[in-house]
């Protein structure tokens, strides 16, 4: 009866073991609603929140208008604001009432035209305006003051043009916004979000499922079979790689077709760099679960070391260049940072190799380091 123990190193036995492990993993994924939810439901929820809900643009900002000496000139200037999609002006009779409204946060800025506005503007002078901005939300404050400045400059220019008077300001800024001319925050948030979603699937899910085998004692049973450490790792990598790429495809599809984010680069670049990033994330997830050996701890560590940094330190929302230098240097350790740069570039600018290649190399290096660490630290025995 003992005449059929196959040789463990035989390639066909190896294939059989791998396909058995991979099939097992897919069956588990199919039966476990939480992993399906992380892979497919969560991307949809995150994309909808960030695609529709969160906007870093200032739009329809309520602005208080105070004209100390109303006249045709002031009405003309205000009509410029009324026509803008950025503002929703509210007229006040005097500065006091406007200040009170600002205090109550009913408006986010006051535009006050002094009594000499009409006279100065008629005389061709620069006709200054007085702007008070609610600085509590610094981001909005900057945007509002910038937009107002733009509206004002435009209005002045138009006045000058109309009267065929040469500008007293000899230099005028000609502003062009490249890559995202509409300055829609969605167009750079959504591509960046793909990195966050893949971190979830790659690192968090993987960290949980390997630790689950420790918790439930199945790893001990696996270790007692002819399965090698490498086969166990590949048996985890392949299914979650496919799941992660599925999540990525879903996200890219939603980005292009639902949110109408332009894709100026190529899909294959996304595929290759996405694979590199996912391998790095998977390697990290595996490494965490090997060290933690416990599902709960593994999940906590994965969230703190991969998901949160991908959210905060990847440049997905917060610009890395405006971070303190110490924090900036820390971001180099975060794989999502490289992938966010690639995603935003490929979507909005195109295949800019000067950006893509160094970032892709960094991802490849990280994937190599974490996968090697995982393979090295994966115990061959208990205790």
């Amino acid at each position: 009866m003992n005449a059929e123990h196959s040789v463990p190193n035989d390639p066909s036995a190896r294939r059989l073991r791998l396909s058995g492990l991979i099939r097992k993993e897919f069956l588990q994924i199919r039966r476990d609603l939480s992993s399906i939810a992380i892979a497919f439901l969560l991307p949809i929820v995150l994309l909808i929140i960030f695609g529709y809900g969160v906007s870093l643009d200032a739009r329809h900002e309520r602005v208080g208008l105070v004209a100390e000496n109303p006249g045709p000139e002031t009405a003309d200037f205000f009509s410029g604001l009324q026509g803008s999609e950025y503002f929703q002006p509210v007229t006040f009779s005097d500065q006091r009432a406007a200040k009170a409204a600002l205090n109550r946060r009913q408006i986010s800025a006051i535009v006050r035209l002094r009594s000499d506005f009409s006279r100065q503007s008629l005389s061709g002078q620069s006709a200054p305006i007085n702007v008070v901005v609610d600085g509590v939300d610094a981001n909005t404050a900057r945007l509002v003051s910038g937009y107002l400045q733009g509206v004002w400059a435009g209005w002045l220019q138009r006045r000058l043009d109309e009267r065929a008077i040469e500008s007293t300001q000899s230099v005028l800024m000609q502003q062009r916004i490249w890559f995202n001319p509409a300055v829609r925050s969605r167009d750079y948030l959504v591509p960046g979000l793909i990195a966050v979603i893949m971190t979830l699937i790659g690192a968090l899910l993987t960290a949980m499922v390997v630790a689950r085998e420790w918790d439930r004692g199945t790893l001990e049973a696996l270790m007692a079979t002819p399965v090698s450490v490498g086969e166990v790792l590949i048996g985890k990598l392949v299914p979650y790689y496919l799941l992660g790429m599925g999540g990525m495809a879903l996200s890219i599809g939603m980005a292009i077709f639902l949110f109408e984010v332009p894709l100026r680069g190529s899909l294959w670049v996304l595929f290759v760099t996405g694979s590199l990033f996912l391998l790095a994330a998977l390697g990290m997830g595996l490494f965490i679960s090997i060290i933690a050996q416990n599902q709960f701890l593994s999940g906590q560590v994965a969230i703190i070391t991969t998901f949160l940094p991908a959210f905060i330190l990847s440049g997905f929302i917060f610009d890395i260049d405006s971070m303190p230098v110490a924090v900036q240097s820390f971001t180099y350790l975060i794989a999502a940072r490289y992938f966010v740069a690639i995603l935003q570039t490929v979507f909005l600018a195109g295949n800019v190799w000067e950006v893509i290649i160094p970032n892709a190399l960094a991802l490849a290096l990280m994937a190599l380091v974490f996968l090697t660490l995982a393979a090295r630290r994966m115990p061959r025995r208990l205790g």
Binding site: N2, G217, A221, A224, R380, R381
Partner: protein
Amino acid sequence: MTAVLHSIPKNTAVAVAATGLGKHFTVGQRQIAALEGITLNIRVGVVSALIGPDGAGKTTLLRLIAGLLAPDHGTISGFGLDPMTQTDAVHAITGYMPQRFGLYEDLTVQENLDLYADLHGVPTRLRSERFHELLEMTKLSAFQDRLAGKLSGGMKQKLGLACTLVARPRLLLLDEPTVGVDPVSRRELWLIIERMVASGTTVLMSTAYLDEAERCHEIFMLHAGQMIRQGAPDAELSLLAGRCYEIHGAENFTRRLQSRLAEQANIVDAVIQVDAVRVVTAQPQPPTLDDLAAEFPSLTVTSVRPRFEDGFIVRLKPLVEQVNLGRALSPSTQAVDREGTVIEVHEVERWFGDFQAVKRISFDVKRGEVFGLLGANGAGKTTTFRMLCGLLPPSGGQLRVTGIDLRSAAAKARRRIGYMSQKFSLYGALSVRQNLEFFASAYRLDRGQRRVRLDWALDEFQLAAYAESSSGDLPLGHKQRLALACALLHEPEILFLDEPTSGVDPLMRRAFWSAINALAEQGVTVLVTTHFMEEAEYCDRLVIMAAGSLLAAGRPKEIRAQARSPDRPNPTLEDAFIQLLHNIAGSDVGASQAGPKGGLQGRSPQQSEQTPS
């Protein structure tokens, strides 16, 4: 395919050989020698048993043989292969079933088998026949598509065993394969093991059940990491010639007689056996009962055949720290009226959706009784138990505990109840003292009471030395004592024990039961569920449940009588239990278990009864 076999010497009489084997672990700052200087030879083609108290090193030894741990000293080989350097070859010929059987609970029975067949490289052409054989053997054919997590405990063990058998291992290593398994499944597991041995497999199993060890060809007894005895089980018995006796005639006071005898210096062991107390004396001469004559006037002593368990106790008792829980009583409990009924169960039923887990059962329990609730896995014991504790409302019927209707005042009744679950429900990260403090506050003891009861618990349960150790690091026996102390802090009138001795070695079981007996003597009512038919003998009365109904109720003697037949004049309680299950197998319960051959199509409508309750 046979390349590995060439490297295995044929006809080697020794399957596993170890010399000077040692293994240490570090727990916290302590170095623990799990195994020390183990030298053994395990013969080919027989069943060998690893026995010993908890923490003796049984699991460590199995893991070393399976190549899952690296030894610190010494050498080990399986069929001439070194598990360290030839790990793959060892794994190819070894089937190892860990204590948690290594099943994927979210995979079906068939998918688990497929996976292990893939991992062991079982050729596809051999599979369908082999799966069929294994499913037949384990009586799991009808459950092929059921998720492993939804199987009962006994079925999981059988599936775990089937998974280790797909590759037809030459060496089968089983770590406590029958813990938490009902007697029917236990017999089935043994049938499988015997079939494997008959076909040439070498089996090494660890077990806490000494009746199982007695069935093995060879015994390896470990204690505190050392081998204290090896050889055939019969060899143990010669040591005990003239030292084993049964004492009859205590009538309904057998338990009291047992505790009196246990206190005597020349008696090593005293256990209740059917209607008598079975004793093992220190010298080969009968026990002297003169000082008991006043209390028990009509005692008779008969010499009996020694059992393997006696040998175990005699060898280990001197080595193990003695814990006398016999005094573990609540000081305020007075002698009580034994006639009062404290638990009344009338026509109680419980539905889970459209599944009736408990089917209109009725029984009652008197004050100071030790009352047993027996049944196979999935019989409805745990559901009944939870209803009695007020943890689960019944769907119908009346349930009164200490005169309080549980449907209207469960919380009030719970204050009079102590509950110790199978898993002990301790906070592993808290120290012994902190656990006690927590339970004291959970039971709302005031500051003064709390101090008194805490001192009592640490003192009576001999836990004072461990007061500041975290309870998770305690040995199993200490955990069990702490759990019992926690359940008794508020001086309950009724104590519920759910499988309190599952997986616990005989010495600890004895200590535990002496505490239970002492509590009952003091008027505490004890309800206990158990798989252990021997322990059921210790109960005053018991009920046997199957598929949600009561099969039998009464004193152990009365229940045994039901299984008496010409060819079995003196049935044990286990025989009676299996007989009772068998009687109804034809009609409804267990039809799926005793299903016809080729049960693939014979999907039984009674499957739901196998659902763990």
